[in-house]
Amino acid sequence: MAEIRFENIVKKFGEKTVLDNINLNIEDGSFTVMIGPSGCGKTTLLRIIAGIGPQTSGKVYLDGVDISRMLPAKRNVAMVFQNYAIYPTMTVRENIEFGLKNNKVPKDERTRLVEEISEIVGIHELLERKPATLSGGQRQRIALARAMVKKPKVFLMDEPLSNLDAKLRVSMRTELIELHKKLKTTFVYVTHDQTEAMSMATKIILMNGGVIQQEASPRVIYQDPNNLFTAQFIGSPQMNVLKFAASDVSYGFRPEKVSLTSDATQSFYCRKGTIVTKEMLGSETIYQVRYDNNSVMVKSLDDSFESDTEVYVNVNEENIQLFDASGVRIRADHQDFAGWMQKL
């Protein structure tokens, strides 16, 4: 059991408010990914759980116990740092067992745990080496082993894959998912990479400017965003957002929900435009199409359209989402929904 609850968390650095009254539950056993642009407060929130960057006000509960002012070591959490924070002067083995030693775990038990964990993460043959001689991927595993060996209730990870090369990042992603399945403990993971968030999370917490924008499963975040920020942050290329004429209300549709045709169709939303650019990505093609002073991105499996030719942009009714002037989503049950849709 490891459920984390934030209650009215505020964090200020000097005069600047980094976290503004956060109330949040992180479910037991979830793989929760906190994502958002730089400076949105995601790492700050993670450090508050760890206790290494305490909140200005508010409370944190771990399984109902108030840990707001508890020392980091007493919280039963482990953290993997962005640049690993491996003790460079210790061997791999000393790194992993440092916490156990400080917690007065007997030597036999310590050795057994270190062997067991290092076997799991695949660094068993590196135990007597110094970190300086190891690659980024290997250091990453040491950091992971050091966290695992303490058998914590919660794993905190601060952009742990950002220093790895692209290929290794993809394979580590899979390994982390497997690890989470095996350990069944709560993972709290911070990243700015939406692919990591989408692929690993059971729940995504999207933050911006110290405020939670939406917390939901990857599927809901993508398909059913609460607001314009969420809609545009997740997805690549990002959602096309266009304004209604003489209004601040906007409508959006994702690039892959568009179908391009050379002739006009009877679809709900059909506009004639010109292809400005074409990017071949192999399996799919991204077109930029311009019409009525708007420019939209289209992701298509069809690579037969050429630049500077005229096409029709078609979108189905259920793939169009509406947002009001302040960016909040206008859902189908809203009184104005039908009215706006009719204007399209």
């Binding site: 760890a50 206790g51 290494i52 020392l71 980091p72 070591a73 007493k74 959490v77 482990a78 953290m79 740092f81 962005q82 640049n83 924070a85 003790y87 460079p88 002067t89 210790m90 440092f98 916490g99 400080n102 917690n103 300086a132 050091r146």
Partner: protein
């Protein structure tokens, strides 16, 4: 332009040597030649005026029979031991203390460095006043606790200790700054990771801070040791080696032999011995410690 032609020619081969030539000339002129000259003179007898005569190893045999030399060596050893063995740990304590960023500490960091920039002559005058045996500040302060009055520079029992106190006072600020700067370079995540690993403050210092600053400590250890073996000005301005010969250190002894008594050959031999001692000490340091120093 292609650079294939003449890559194995005369000029490309000597080019690197031409580039380092100016530095080599200075090194030869001001370091290698004087060392060679010193070694040659140590086998001669010369009074600065007449013609030098060869005396084989007589100078060296003579050196170790002179009590004054052995005493100087002894004083130098004590001086070096105190400056390194007490001075460095004190500097480290100050550095740990100052590493917490408060307004007072920001001020103290500048103040700490001041002794290093003040001229040694001013330092000598100030301390002569502080350590005055009749109305000095230090004796007044000690008097409050019923200690003293001490004779400080005026007694052969306390003079060496007094010199050491002043020298340490002057060196601590500089050493503290170097150690402080090294400590600032230790990544904060390491301490955060250690916090999560339940490390005590002592364990954080000995397992993280100290190993991480060990290259700078090693450098300080060597420079402080060789620096103390070469000490001259401090003794010259504070006590001139006295009272008697109670604060006479090796270099001061050499200086006296060469320029007061005109025994250049003998002084050169003592210089060679001093160089040998420092060489051996440095080698011992490297042999004993270099494996323990952590380089990034």
């Amino acid at each position: 332009m292609e650079r294939t032609a003449n890559d194995n020619g005369f000029w490309p081969r000597i080019r690197p040597y031409v580039f380092i030539l100016p530095a080599m000339v200075f090194l030869a002129l001001f370091v290698i030649y004087p060392i060679g000259d010193l070694a040659v003179r140590s086998f001669q007898k010369w009074d600065l005026i007449g013609t030098p005569t060869w005396v084989n190893t007589k100078n060296f045999e003579y050196i170790f029979k002179r009590k004054e030399f052995i005493d100087s060596l002894w004083h130098t050893g004590i001086y070096a031991l105190c400056l390194v063995g007490l001075g460095l740990p004190i500097s480290m304590l100050f550095a740990v203390w100052l590493s917490k960023s408060t307004r007072l500490n920001n001020l103290l960091r500048s103040v700490m460095f001041m002794p290093h920039v003040i001229s040694l002559l001013s330092v000598a005058m100030v301390w002569a006043w502080i350590m005055n045996k009749d109305n000095g500040l230090l004796n007044m302060a000690l008097g409050v606790f019923g200690i003293g009055p001490l004779q400080w520079f005026d007694s052969s029992d306390t003079a060496l200790m007094s010199v050491i106190i002043v020298a340490t006072w002057k060196a601590v600020g500089y050493n503290t700054m170097l150690i402080y700067a090294a400590m600032q370079n230790v990544p904060t995540e390491l301490y955060e990771a250690a916090d999560l690993d339940n490390a005590s403050r002592i364990s954080k210092f000995f397992k993280i801070t100290f190993p991480m600053i060990s290259p700078q400590m090693f450098m300080l250890l060597i420079t402080a040791t060789t620096g103390s073996f070469k000490v001259f000005e401090t003794v010259r301005v504070l006590t001139k080696g006295g009272p008697g010969t109670s604060t006479q250190v090796l270099v001061y002894y050499i200086y006296k032999q060469a320029f007061y008594l005109n025994k250049v050959g003998y002084a050169a031999a003592a210089g060679v011995v001093l160089m040998g001692i420092m060489g051996v000490m440095t080698i011992i340091y490297f042999w004993a410690l270099s494996k323990k120093v952590h380089y990034q």
